[in-house]
């Protein structure tokens, strides 16, 4: 089972979970050589909405967009997001996304805001992330010590767990974002 990172519409919480399940169900059974666009079902708001997704190894990145966005543009945006994640986490893997879901959100927020494309230039995005990191470091103080311990914990755990392990139905979800 793969993780699905997706933007969901502003919906009631149980609805969000249902959307994620449904989307995952739709997307995961598609072959690699079919197109990356899916007509919206009633769940995501009808035919004006499309699911646009990209598949990277074990991860699906799914965006739900309305007709005001260029389909290919969104495909590229997903690529920018993933490349940025890769830069920020230095060879990003699924575990990074799980253990640092807060950071993933922060990076996503530099790309997409309130469901709208904010920045597409990877250098700009990484610069912003960099600024955040520096502020975090300067505030480090107390939290620096436990932080080192975390990396020890994580490194300790890592070898025991194969990288792309089946981790059950875990979904990573980004803030409730409306379609762009």
């Amino acid at each position: 089972v793969q993780n699905t990172v997706q933007h969901v519409l502003l919906q009631a919480e149980d609805m969000q979970q249902q959307i994620i399940r449904e989307t995952f169900h739709l997307v995961s059974k598609r072959d690699d050589n079919v197109c990356n666009f899916l007509e919206g079902g009633s769940l995501i708001g009808g035919s004006d909405y499309k699911l646009i997704y990209r598949h990277y190894a074990t991860l699906y990145f799914v965006f739900c967009v309305d007709s005001s966005e260029s389909e290919l543009g969104i495909l590229d945006l997903i690529q920018v997001f993933v490349e940025t994640l890769d830069k920020c986490f230095e060879n990003v893997c699924e575990l990074d996304l799980i253990f640092h879901m807060d950071k993933v959100h922060y990076i996503l927020q530099e790309v997409v805001m309130g469901g709208m494309v904010l920045e597409t230039n990877m250098n700009e995005i990484t610069t912003q992330v960099d600024v955040q990191n520096r502020m975090e470091k300067s505030e480090g103080g107390l939290s620096a010590a436990p932080a080192r311990a975390v990396s020890a914990v994580k490194n300790m755990n890592l070898p025991e767990i194969p990288r792309n392990i089946n981790i059950g139905d875990i979904n990573i979800k980004v803030p409730s974002l409306s379609p762009f």
Binding site: I107, G114, M116, E124, S178
Partner: protein, 958 residues
């Protein structure tokens, strides 16, 4: 290296996540989570001195638990506390939590808004960004109310940092989408256009998104953006890719910005200025040229970005629809993509070509790709792509290729995905009808549809084929022969039985000459299907049988035997039993002449737009259906296309009403005398014959009508004198003479109403054969359903009886139904007709709104036909309280403090009907100064007929 410092996280969180990941079962995971939730709860409750770090850690854990799909019902307060922390990391997690788990608790919202306000005013760009993100992510009305006026100034201030400008632009865009009425337009709009010249391309991109949305709403205010957008686009398109460094993506210059600019330009017609226009054309040509150049990179990202721009350019070309050369080039480019190995490109090419097909310049070019598209239908592995191919075939269909396209769609239907079958059925049905030269082809096609995908053939489709066969004499014999043959199949779809039953019932005589399809053979064939069918179909078959009795006297005895059998006469289904009883009786009693009249062939249906088209539009949503009702491809070759395209958008009267006239007004009481008035008058009382859904009492009226000997009552003058008194009130006496008093009590909710009618006998003598009925004119019948309960036929002297009328408003209406009353008093028949005070305003629901909302909507309803104004003399003394009571009685909410002039009255409400809701605003301005007291009444609604009617009603009240 901007790498996330992986080590700086929170230890407790990492341990918790590891624990969860190590859980062997779902149960273990839930157990661990519950343990953690209990722990966090106690920490939040117990230790008052929880430090920022711990709060942050726990809030983060809650967030993780939420993302796993569990409910979180606490922690909001702690998250809000984090917002006011000085530490960036704490603030950040607080905002994240709020954005993900929005809570509508108003106290919390106040605190959150407060924190946002502080951060917006902090002049710290990072904090400002966090706050703007939060507003955009939540996008609630409360936030819009609090910040919508502040954000424009942040956006256009000279000293705002670029990144904050970007956030502010998008934040404004988001608020504009969620609560447009709260975002003030103003002086900033002019300055926002100039952001298109900004040095920072990120700012330009965000601003372009914002301007596009604003320009869609008020194009005139943003007209200046056209030239700026063209200039910007031209600079990007002609730049060497290195010029834009950071914004170059896989060798393509600023693809997202290009796409956005091209989208913005699609809000407008081609520029009028010739120089600007040619510059834009140059840009578009350059983009098309680049598509032919060898790729600068083999990476898919490169071609994606390049094609994203290309598709958007093509969209703009199609939108302008003015440059034949560009259109043809665009079409050829899409043609290339149709055969591309990338599925995404094939998908998008099919989609774009669909819109191109409706341009007169490129329609012919699009048609040249028909083989490729048909091939796509057959070979594509992806249902999304096949769906697009179906759409394109539908869009490119015209008389020259209709047969081929319909045949291909039919053959695809046999293997099509279940999810799109119904849609294909509708499309085939529409195309077959639209492009039929030879209606035998049409009949064949529809029967094939039923054979191949009977389950997906909706009522509209088979109703339509019957309508057409009845209206076209030349095809009736063929249709009868064809259904007869189709029914020979051992297993045929029930829809075929319905069509077959109906058509043979009407036109079976046309093939009866052939001994292979003699009357008895036809009847036996139909009856062999009878027991396999559902009740509505059986009911239809019974009607076909009675028609047979008329058409073929020689099978009368056979059919009577069938009707007489226990399985019919004692059928447990009331409708079937009733039909059997009535038809049997009819066939025994009536003379040949009466039978022939009663069971006459159906009259032609009035010509009208196909209801199938309306259904398809509804199914696809208005934006997604390529309009095939173009003048160019009009079936008749005529150019009435405006009429054609308009018709389906309005609620086209349902065919059911025609074919199976269930809404036919039914006299309320069971008195035979009354009945005859209603139905005998119409030319074809037996259009009811195939009425499947009729209520039993309605069915009874059928026979009563025929055999009733009473003459229709003489026409009576309709009493209207008290009608207008009921506009603003619901109860009172509507009619009174020496004999009878009629009082009303009514109540309305949304589109439904109920009227209690009280009939009081003022004499000391009994009224006999008392009966009532409600009649409406033909137009009103479709707009208003009135159902009357029966009333006691005897009213003793001095007594009162009550009758209940149920009313449903289907759509807006002007006329009023008439209540006809008939009784015998001292040997003479009394006829009374009273106009029932059922008026459009009765279906009002009052709407409270703020002054701002009111004027916003008032402005939106500014089209000349939406407003109706009347200036009239006051008939009564001007009294504010009375006027207020009348306006409230009219049904709208009275809005205080909205009108700057306190002497004026302003109201708002929504008219509820089954089909639509119509919002109404009204304003009444008394002029007390003038010599003659005058009023001016203004009504604005989204529908002209509604505005007019309401104005007429209300203006009589003062």
């Amino acid at each position: 290296m901007p790498a996330v410092s992986k080590g700086d996280g929170m230890r407790g969180l990492a341990v918790f996540i590891s624990d969860i990941r190590n859980c062997k079962s779902k149960e273990a995971e839930i157990k661990r989570i519950n343990k953690e939730l209990a722990n966090i709860r106690s920490k939040f409750k117990g230790d008052k001195a929880l430090d920022g770090y711990s709060k942050k850690k726990y809030v983060c854990k809650l967030l993780f638990i939420f993302l796993l799909g569990h409910d979180i019902d606490f922690g909001h307060m702690e998250a809000v506390n984090l917002l006011s922390s000085n530490k960036y990391t704490e603030k950040q997690i607080g905002y994240l939590f709020i954005s993900v788990l929005v809570n509508s608790n108003s106290d919390l919202i106040r605190l959150i808004n407060n924190a946002i306000k502080n951060d917006l005013g902090s002049r710290n760009p990072t904090f400002m960004n966090l706050a703007l993100h939060c507003i955009a992510n939540v996008g609630s009305r409360e936030m819009a109310e609090a910040f919508a006026s502040e954000i424009p100034s942040i956006l256009v201030a000279g000293d705002t940092m670029d990144s904050v400008k970007q956030s502010a632009a998008l934040c404004l865009l988001r608020l504009n989408r969620t609560s447009a009425d709260l975002v003030p337009m103003g002086e900033w709009t002019a300055r926002v256009v100039h952001l298109l010249n900004d040095q920072h391309l990120g700012v330009v991109t965000a601003a372009t998104s914002l301007i596009t949305t604003l320009a869609q709403k008020s194009p005139d205010d943003f007209k200046t953006s056209i030239s700026l957008a063209v200039a910007r686009l031209s600079r990007i398109v002609t730049s060497a890719s290195i010029d834009l460094q950071d914004y170059t993506y896989y060798f393509v210059a600023a693809p997202w910005l290009s796409v956005k600019l091209l989208r913005l330009l699609q809000c407008y017609p081609p520029p009028e200025d010739a120089a600007l226009r040619s510059r834009l054309t140059e840009c578009l040509e350059t983009i098309l040229n680049k598509a032919q150049e060898p790729p600068k990179s083999k990476k898919v990202q490169h071609s994606n970005a390049k094609n994203a721009v290309l598709f958007e350019a093509i969209s703009l070309i199609i939108h302008h629809d003015s440059e034949p050369t560009l259109l043809v080039r665009a079409c050829n480019q899409l043609g290339q993509f149709l055969q591309h190995r990338e599925t995404n490109l094939r998908y998008l090419a099919l989609e774009s070509m669909c819109t191109l097909a409706s341009s007169e310049f490129s329609h012919e070019t699009v048609k040249t790709h028909i083989e490729t598209v048909i091939n796509a239908l057959k070979t594509e592995r992806d249902v999304s792509v096949r769906q697009r191919a179906v759409d394109l075939l539908y869009a490119m269909c015209d008389r020259s290729n209709a047969k081929q396209i319909v045949a291909e769609m039919l053959s695809y239907l046999e293997t099509a995905d279940y999810s799109i079958r119904e849609e294909i059925v509708l499309k085939v049905a529409i195309l077959a009808e639209k492009y039929a030269v030879d209606y035998t082809w049409y009949v064949d096609t529809i029967l094939n549809l039923i054979r191949i995908a009977g389950d997906y053939v909706s009522e509209e489709v088979w109703y339509r084929v019957i309508q057409i066969v009845i209206n076209r004499e030349d095809v009736q014999g063929y249709a009868a022969k064809t259904v007869f043959e189709a029914l020979q199949a051992p297993a045929c779809h029930e829809n075929l039985v319905k069509v077959g039953g109906y058509i043979l019932g009407e036109f079976g005589n046309l093939i009866a000459g052939d001994s292979r399809s003699s009357p008895l053979v036809q009847f036996n064939l139909l009856h062999s299907k009878f027991h396999l069918c559902s009740v509505p179909t059986r009911a239809l078959l019974l009607s076909a049988y009675i028609k047979f009795i008329n058409l073929f006297p020689e099978v009368k005895a056979t059919i009577q035997d069938v009707l007489r059998s226990d399985s019919q006469l004692r059928n447990s289904d009331v409708e079937l039993q009733q039909r059997a009883v009535e038809y049997l009786r009819l066939s025994c009693i009536a003379s040949t002449d009466i039978l022939a009249t009663v069971l006459e062939e159906m009259p032609p249906f009035p010509e009208r737009e196909s209801s199938i088209l309306a259904k398809l539009k509804k199914k696809k949503g208005p934006g997604n259906l390529p309009d095939i009702d173009d003048a160019r491809r009009n079936v008749n070759g005529s150019t009435e296309h405006s009429e054609n395209t308009e018709a389906p958008k309005k609620s086209s009267p349902s065919l059911v009403a025609d074919l199976l006239p269930t809404n036919r007004p039914r006299p309320a009481s069971s008195s035979p005398i009354m009945r005859s008035a209603g139905t005998m008058g119409t030319t074809h009382p037996f259009t009811d014959l195939l009425n499947l859904n009729a209520t039993p009492s309605a069915g009874a009226s059928l026979l009563v009508d025929v055999f009733s000997e009473s003459p229709a009552p003489a026409s009576v003058d309709v009493c209207e004198e008290n009608f207008l008194r009921f506009v603003c009130k619901n109860n009172g006496v509507i009619f009174e003479n020496q004999l009878l008093q009629i009082g009303l009590k009514s109540e309305y909710r949304q589109n439904l109403g109920r009227i209690y009618v009280f009939y009081g006998n003022k004499t000391s003598t009994q009224f006999l054969s008392f009966s009532t009925s409600v009649a409406s004119c033909d137009m009103l019948k479709t707009q208003l359903n009135v159902h009357a309960k029966t009333v006691d036929p005897l009213i003793d002297g001095g007594a009162q009886v009550q009758q209940m009328l149920n009313i449903e408003c289907v759509s807006d209406f002007t006329d009023a139904p008439v209540l006809n009353i008939q009784f015998r008093y001292g040997g003479t028949l009394q006829n009374i007709a009273v106009k029932l005070p059922v008026m459009l305003n009765k279906f009002f629901q009052p709407t409270e709104m703020t002054s701002q909302d009111f004027f916003q909507r008032w402005k939106q309803l500014g089209a000349p036909e939406q407003e109706v104004q009347k200036i009239f003399k006051a008939k009564h003394p001007m009294d504010t309280d009375v006027t207020k009571a009348k306006i409230l009685g009219f049904g709208v909410a009275l809005l205080d403090g909205v009108d700057p002039n306190p002497a004026n009255f302003v109201g708002a409400g929504v008219i509820h009907s089954k089909c639509t809701q119509v919002g109404c605003l009204l304003r009444l301005e008394p002029n007390t100064q003038a010599q003659v007291k005058m009023y001016r009444l203004t009504l604005r609604t989204s529908k002209d007929t509604v505005s007019q009617r309401l104005c007429d009603l209300l203006s009589e009240q003062f």
